[in-house]
């Protein structure tokens, strides 16, 4: 793990809640994260801090079980050409489950593509919310920061609630927030890799400096990755492949829900500082002294 720095670490742990969410998000947090501690994005309360993507599932029934097990209140969909196969599938299901829909602009490589896709999504799904993805190339699927920033500015100008999928660069995250993003969604590692959080320091920095919710997006492989994201100060976690491509998506969805809750609670509880050397948890006062007891006895100490 990259976080095993052995020197005393004052960045975390000295004050309860220093890494617990964004400034805005942190205000209502006590020592123990209360159950009614909703994620708030653009003034809307969401009952779960786990956002589920619907991509990667092999069949709709399995996806539905996973969505329900995750307890999510927000789920992403992509926009594609209508065909009789796609007809009425995921959109109707999400509506039936009462989960808020977050359309993405997956597959867009330019500002122009992203703007049209966002406009189509707003019209088709009757929501101003968009998970903005502007991808640099199809091998890494990494965000193109230049196009992303421009598209964010324009969509905010057009009245969208923009949640940009971004790299783990704290400077870019700041620029996106300044451009009016309602949340920032940095990647842990490239989409679908399951490599977890490759640069926890950057994610922590983004969280410390952000005034909008930070949603860890992409790269989550298993529940501990989601818990770490929350411990680093993220306000929420988005998972898709980690659940939909797990051997048992429903069980993994449940695990992710628990992990996000556990990580949030731990962040609020205030972890202990990291130390280089041991610090006993048992007091030394009143310790018996075997050497004194055996003094002057004239015989060898019995072997213990």
């Amino acid at each position: 793990m990259t976080k095993t720095d052995t020197t005393t670490d004052n960045r975390t742990g000295t004050t309860a809640g220093t890494t617990a969410g964004t400034t805005a998000d942190r205000a209502g947090m006590g020592a123990a994260a209360p159950a009614d501690d909703p994620l708030v994005i653009a003034g809307e309360s969401l009952s779960s801090r786990l956002i589920m993507g619907t991509g990667g599932a092999t069949d709709l029934a399995a996806l539905e079980r996973a969505l329900v097990a995750s307890g999510t209140a927000l789920t992403t969909v992509a926009m594609r050409r209508f065909s009789t196969q796609t007809r009425g599938s995921v959109f109707e299901m999400v509506r039936r489950l009462g989960i808020r829909v977050l359309p993405n602009t997956a597959g867009c490589y330019s500002v122009r593509d992203a703007l049209l896709t966002a406009e189509l999504a707003r019209e088709a799904l009757e929501t101003d919310w968009v998970k903005l993805e502007v991808i640099a190339d199809d091998e890494t699927l990494l965000p193109d920061g230049v196009e992303l920033l421009e598209a964010t500015e324009e969509l905010v100008h057009r009245g969208f609630t923009v949640l940009p999928y971004t790299s783990d660069d704290p400077a870019l995250a700041r620029r996106l927030e300044d451009a009016g993003a309602a949340a920032v969604m940095p990647l842990g590692s490239p989409i679908g890799t399951g490599l977890g959080i490759l640069n926890p320091h950057n994610i922590e920095l983004i969280c410390e400096r952000a005034n909008v919710p930070v949603v860890l997006d992409a790269g989550i492989g298993t529940a501990s990755d989601a818990a770490l994201a929350m411990e680093l100060g993220c306000s929420a976690v988005l998972v898709a492949s980690a659940v939909t491509r797990a051997q048992d998506p429903e069980a993994m969805a449940r695990a992710m829900d628990l992990a996000v809750r556990a990580g949030r609670a731990a962040a609020g509880a205030g972890r202990i500082p990291r130390r280089r050397l041991a610090l006993a948890s048992s007091a030394f006062d009143g310790l018996i002294d075997p050497v004194q007891q055996s003094e002057g006895s004239g015989r060898e100490a019995e072997s213990w």
């Binding site: 619907t54 991509g55 209508f82 007809r87 359309p103 993405n104 019209e123 088709a124």
Partner: protein, 82 residues
């Protein structure tokens, strides 16, 4: 007069009667009737959007928007995606 005009719909060639509106095209594609308001007969949303030559046509204007000869139409909907 029932002349036929060519369109490109979701990257496929398609001919439709001249005088068809966006609403007619959507109804034909979805295989269901579409109201004046661009919704299903029971008022529920259809979950689709239409762009004509890269301009989104709001569903409230579908029934008033005629299809032009050679128009490039995109009809999109939500699918599974991260």
């Amino acid at each position: 007069m029932t002349s036929i005009i060519p369109l490109t719909v979701n990257a496929e060639d398609q001919s439709v009667p001249s005088g068809w509106t966006v609403r007619d095209l959507v109804a034909a594609r979805l295989g269901q009737s579409v109201g004046e308001d661009g919704r299903a007969a029971d008022g529920s949303p259809l979950g689709v959007a239409v762009a004509l030559d890269d301009a989104v046509i709001p569903r409230s204007r579908w029934s008033a928007t005629a299809l032009a000869d050679g128009a490039r139409c995109e009809i999109v909907t939500a699918v599974q995606g991260g």
